[in-house]
Amino acid sequence: MNNRHKWIAFMTIVRREIHRFMRIWPQTLVPPVITIVLYFVIFGRLIGGRIGEMSGLPYIQFVAPGLIMMSVITNSYSNVVSSFYGSKFQRNIEELLVSPTPNWIILLGYVVGGMSRGLGVGALVTILSLYFADFSLHSLPITIGIVLMTSLMFSLAGLINAVFANSFDDISIIPTFVLTPLIYLGGVFYSIELLGEFWGSVSLINPILYMVNAFRYGMVGITDINIAWSFGMVGIFSALLFFVALNLLEKGSRLRS
């Protein structure tokens, strides 16, 4: 396969993935948008007014970047985990396995598909958030950079989950018992300054804290974490997950007998 062939194979996977989530948009695009709107209404409008300011910002402005990041994380992850596991379940993953498409192209194709949904939903939620809160973007490169890296990282994690999953239950265990607690404890709704020294330090092992804070910094200019450190953490995690995912595909773990 020359580079042109590889590019065609890559774009075929990406197009197929985008087509998949667009075809079932009432399941893939509408629910996350409704969920986030409810967060805005409840935490922003109804409760937010009583909370007052957080880190010097109106609560709705503080919480909005975290909510956008939450939608990017969950949608990037769930797109890849459900699509890849669905392909395993229906065995149409074999269409790719019998082809000369290199594993790294397969991996990138699925990941870019997941990122497309994550970023697409993130963009929809950002547009809706403008109705609830006023933003003056603090740093576009940081905002774009961290959202891309976060989406990449969780798309990779979704693929690893799908490789190991043996049933549809297995693809909901990680989002329910790992991802959701990490998101809720990752500084989406509060500043870690509120936690005190001990729990604040414990929070530092949560990778989502770095992503949410970097994104918040990009949007509104405040953070609990050093931004360079945030990018470094997300970069290291993404690289680690990329090599794990690629290794699983190369070995054919749970894909080839």
């Binding site: 396969m1 020359n2 042109r4 062939h5 590889k6 065609i8 194979a9 774009m11 075929t12 996977i13 197929r16 087509h19 075809r23 669905g86 392909s87 229906q90 065995r91 149409n92 074999e94 269409e95 790719l96 396995l97 019998v98 082809s99 000369p100 498409t101 290199p102 054919g252 080839r256 007998s257």
Partner: protein
């Protein structure tokens, strides 16, 4: 096969031991010449699908080597995969996608541009009678249509070797015949075909060479003609014009009465069927039609498998 024969597939000492310890293949050696229409036969669990799985890299081999048109599937996997098209036993396409999308995507995975893929998809969907279903969700297709869709998908990258794992399973006779014609045409155009099937008349009608695999070993590898020539006797069903008053007795020909106008007889290779007809005519019985009781290849197949089983028992 002489020394100048070019091989589409060469398998040497192929062994597969699954994680649970089950030995599916025990040192299989197999050569398939370029342009051949080759049958791989065997009972359930014999190792046919494992062999096919290894050829198309869905199953990891434990030992041995496989080359496709001279390209090793381990060291030259990209080139080797370009040569192979596979039609698996079970439906393995996304049932929510449309046939046209399934075909165009499959071509894309082989690096074929969307324009060329669209032309090929139309060609094969038309040839296989699926064009009017091109834009419906594939889950709405009948079983036969799904099988044809998988054949079309396997051909999208113009493979030189087409591997079909029981492609006509569950397909009605009329459709099966039309699929045979299609496959024969593909083979005439130069595509080497390897076929596994439970319908042995399918192998007899389509294939020139055959290997029989049992318990992970090749027990016979020869031409279909040579295999059939090994038959020592055949069982025929004879329909008589006259009603039978009892079972006629003819020396050397063990006859059985099936019903009032039907007889069954075993004829050995050394015997003449004309002699039997003459003897029946002399008894006032005229044969109006005759057919094989079972497929000839089927009888031989069962003999070989039973023999292999017996040898295993003796060991």
């Amino acid at each position: 096969m002489n020394q100048s024969t070019k091989f589409a597939l060469q398998i040497s000492q192929l062994t597969k031991v699954y994680e649970d310890g089950f030995v599916a293949l025990k040192g299989v050696d197999l050569d398939v010449a370029e342009g051949d229409f080759f049958a791989l036969l065997g009972p359930n669990g014999a190792g046919k699908s494992t062999t096919i799985g290894i050829i198309c890299s869905l199953v990891r081999k434990s030992e041995g080597s496989v080359t496709v048109f001279g390209q090793d599937i381990d060291t030259d996997f990209s080139a080797a995969k370009q040569y192979v098209g596979v039609v698996p036993q079970e439906f393995n396409f996304n049932q929510f996608e449309k046939p046209i999308d399934i075909l165009i995507n499959q071509a894309g995975y082989f690096g074929i541009s969307a324009k060329v893929a669209a032309e090929r998809a139309e060609k094969y969907l038309l040839q296989l009678g699926l064009w009017d279903k091109a834009h419906v969700p594939s889950r709405t297709l009948s079983g036969g249509m799904k099988r044809r869709l998988m054949i079309a998908r396997a051909l999208m990258h113009a493979p030189k070797l087409l591997v079909l794992d029981e492609p006509t399973a569950g397909v009605d006779i009329e459709l099966r015949r039309s699929m045979w014609e299609f496959l024969q045409e593909i083979n005439k155009q130069g595509t080497t075909i390897i076929l596994t099937t439970h319908y042995l008349e399918e192998a007899e009608s389509l294939c020139r060479n055959v290997a029989i695999i049992d318990h992970g070993q090749i027990v016979q590898n020869t031409s279909i003609r040579e295999l059939i020539s090994q038959l020592n006797k055949e069982t025929f069903i004879l329909d008589t014009r006259e009603k039978l008053s009892g079972c006629p007795q003819i020396e050397g020909y063990p006859l059985k009465q099936v019903d009032t106008c039907t007889l069954e007889v075993e004829v050995e290779k050394s015997q003449s069927i004309n002699e039997l007809f003459a003897a029946l005519t002399s008894q006032g019985l005229h044969v109006v039609s005759m057919r094989n009781k079972t497929n000839r290849l089927e009888e031989l197949f069962f003999d070989l498998v039973a023999k292999n089983l017996q040898e295993k028992g003796n060991e």
